[in-house]
């Protein structure tokens, strides 16, 4: 993710099916979906609600009424699930509209699928950070759910995604609304970049991933990425972050990256 901010990621695939607890810690529902509001001009749509499954029915609870963690969603004191879910203009239900759906490039060529969706803890609450298109991100969903957000495999920043596109052109959908076609079967999210660019992660993507990982995982990512790209990514981190990361690397990797960083600086 492009944002070099400290914080926590939440994996949507790991959050779905988790308990929705009341303020006493009793399970009252199950997390069924997370809703964001995607309007023109917002790079990282804000989480506005959590869709809860209560028995055979559904209920919606506003983001201000809950505390979201990777393991559960907890209702704040005195708050209840009251609203009946109705899709509003600009709303995107991440599990229904994005997770497992196609991402196509600007030319309309089918490219990849969203194997996971990440939420990021921003200043104003949870925001949609991006999607993971790595095959491993799909395969890990077959196993047991994890307590912590698993590390991104092949992440794409949500800011690189342009809009929802319906499979069949619908002239009635406003082009200025990125979420206008959300929820259509066969629809996809369009990338603002050509297909070829997806073949490898860019330095800024790696920088953002590094910023959001634990130290040990950071070292793995930095060591696995092509050296020049990793060095470019490291250059985008703050000096304390960079030094902390370099300290986790093996002697060989550290020297290699420091050499490349120095070359880049000169």
């Amino acid at each position: 993710m492009r944002r070099a901010l400290a914080g926590e990621l939440i994996s949507l695939a790991n959050l779905l099916g988790r308990p929705l607890l009341d303020d006493a810690g009793t399970k009252v529902a199950t997390v069924d979906d997370v809703v964001v509001h995607w309007v023109r001009g917002s790079s990282y749509p804000r989480v506005v609600a959590v869709l809860a499954r209560i028995g055979k029915g559904y209920g919606l609870v506003g983001d201000q009424d809950v505390t979201i963690t990777q393991r559960s969603v907890r209702l704040r004191t005195g708050r209840q699930i009251v609203a009946k879910p109705v899709r509003q203009k600009g709303y995107v239900a991440l599990a229904r509209d994005v997770l497992d759906h196609q991402l196509v490039d600007v030319a309309g060529v089918q490219v990849v699928r969203a194997n996971d969706v990440y939420l990021f803890g921003g200043v104003h609450g949870w925001e949609l950070a991006g999607v993971d298109v790595g095959v491993w991100a799909f395969l890990r969903r077959l196993g047991r759910r994890r307590r912590m957000c698993p590390p991104p495999v092949r992440a794409i920043d949500w800011a690189d995604l342009q809009s929802f596109v319906p499979r069949y052109l619908d002239a009635s959908l406003p082009e200025s609304e990125p979420a206008a076609a959300a929820g259509e079967v066969g629809g996809a999210v369009r990338l603002a970049v050509p297909a070829g660019d997806l073949k490898k992660l860019r330095a800024q993507d790696i920088a953002a991933i590094l910023a959001e990982l634990g130290r040990g995982q950071q070292a793995q990512v930095a060591a696995l990425a092509p050296a020049s790209t990793a060095a470019e990514a490291l250059a985008q981190l703050s000096p304390p972050q960079r030094q902390a990361l370099l300290a986790e690397l093996t002697e060989e990797d550290r020297r290699r990256l420091e050499g490349l960083l120095e070359d880049g600086a000169t």
Binding site: Q110, R113, N115, L142, Y168, V185
Partner: protein, 422 residues
Amino acid sequence: MSDPAPLAMATKPRRRWVVRLLTILAILGPGLIAANAGNDAGGILTYASAGSQFGYRTLFLMVLVTVALVVVQEMCSRLGVFTGEGLGGLIREQFSARSTFLALSLLLVANAGLTVSEFAGVGASMEIFDMSPRISIPIAAVLVWGLTVLGSYSRAERLFLILTLAFLAYPIAAFLAHPGAKEVVSNLVWPHFVRSHAFLVLAVALIGTTITPYMQFYAASAVVDKGIKPAEYGGERVDAVSGAIWSDIISIFIIIATAAAIGGSGPLQSAEQAAEALKPAVGAAAPQLFAFGLLGASLLAASVVPLSTAYAITDAVGAPRSVSARLREAPLFYGLFTLQIVLGAGIALAPGNLVALAVNAQVLNGIITPLLLTYVLILANRSSVLGAARNGPRFKVVATICVATVGILSFVVLVQTVLGLH
């Protein structure tokens, strides 16, 4: 200024008719090709085995299977046209990750079984030319892999298709063999089933080779690739239905021709024996003609089936997929393709009766088919997927009966085989 209305009225009916015909012709193809994919090496040998073992007694079953094939192919085409997605993608979007993995694993196993039968078909056909399967099968595996991966496949595909035209001799042979018309008609319109495990197993093999999971995935993907829009669905439905019926008419002729020639002689033992059925049409050249046809059908399906599996799985998991990609750019795609070729050829090389192996692979397909059909049925029933184009109440009943019947038959064969109750 003259009023254009009378002229428009005069030409409208004719134009409508011409436009409709042109539309149908333009989109004709995916359903026809998909349904005829059932007449591959495994299919030919299974139909021939049905004729040699039980004469005309499986004909009524084939009529029922045709109804089920029409229903299934129509649902798959409709799903492709109205959602713009292949079955792999739809299953991925509509079911959980674990359900998707199960469906893809079943497809992989079913298609791997099919690939085994295709290589068995290569071995059986070349035995007619006195070439050992130990030589012909590895050569075919290298040929299929090389042609597909190295990118010169399209010309070879045309050659394989031309070779399969040999099977058009079956309808002629069926007539020239002078089968008892009364007996054939009686078996077509009324069941003459045999109460035996062997008949049940062959019934499941016939279902497995006629309604293959591969065809369902292909039918949906082909209409998507062709860009057929919901407004054009009328023509596509004609294609899907007529393709399924035409495919099964050929299958029925294979059974009739074989039954007339060698009916009642027990399970088919060799491709040469199956070629006997073509003698009324082509005389002494029957074995060679049959061998060419079987070889073409085998090579064609031995490349198409593993490719379609690789496409379906990589599409569902979102991995790079293209025959024009380099090996390292699409490792999962090429890995799956190669794995199936190696497994298919390797298992077909195992000592034993190649015809029996091809038929047994169809039994495996028959057991897996109802599981995958359940996914198709659920998808086609969902209004959230197809909206107004979802299965109507009557169609839902017919489709459910088809899937349930195939499922019960497969389950009985599976239980009987596992428990040795025969």
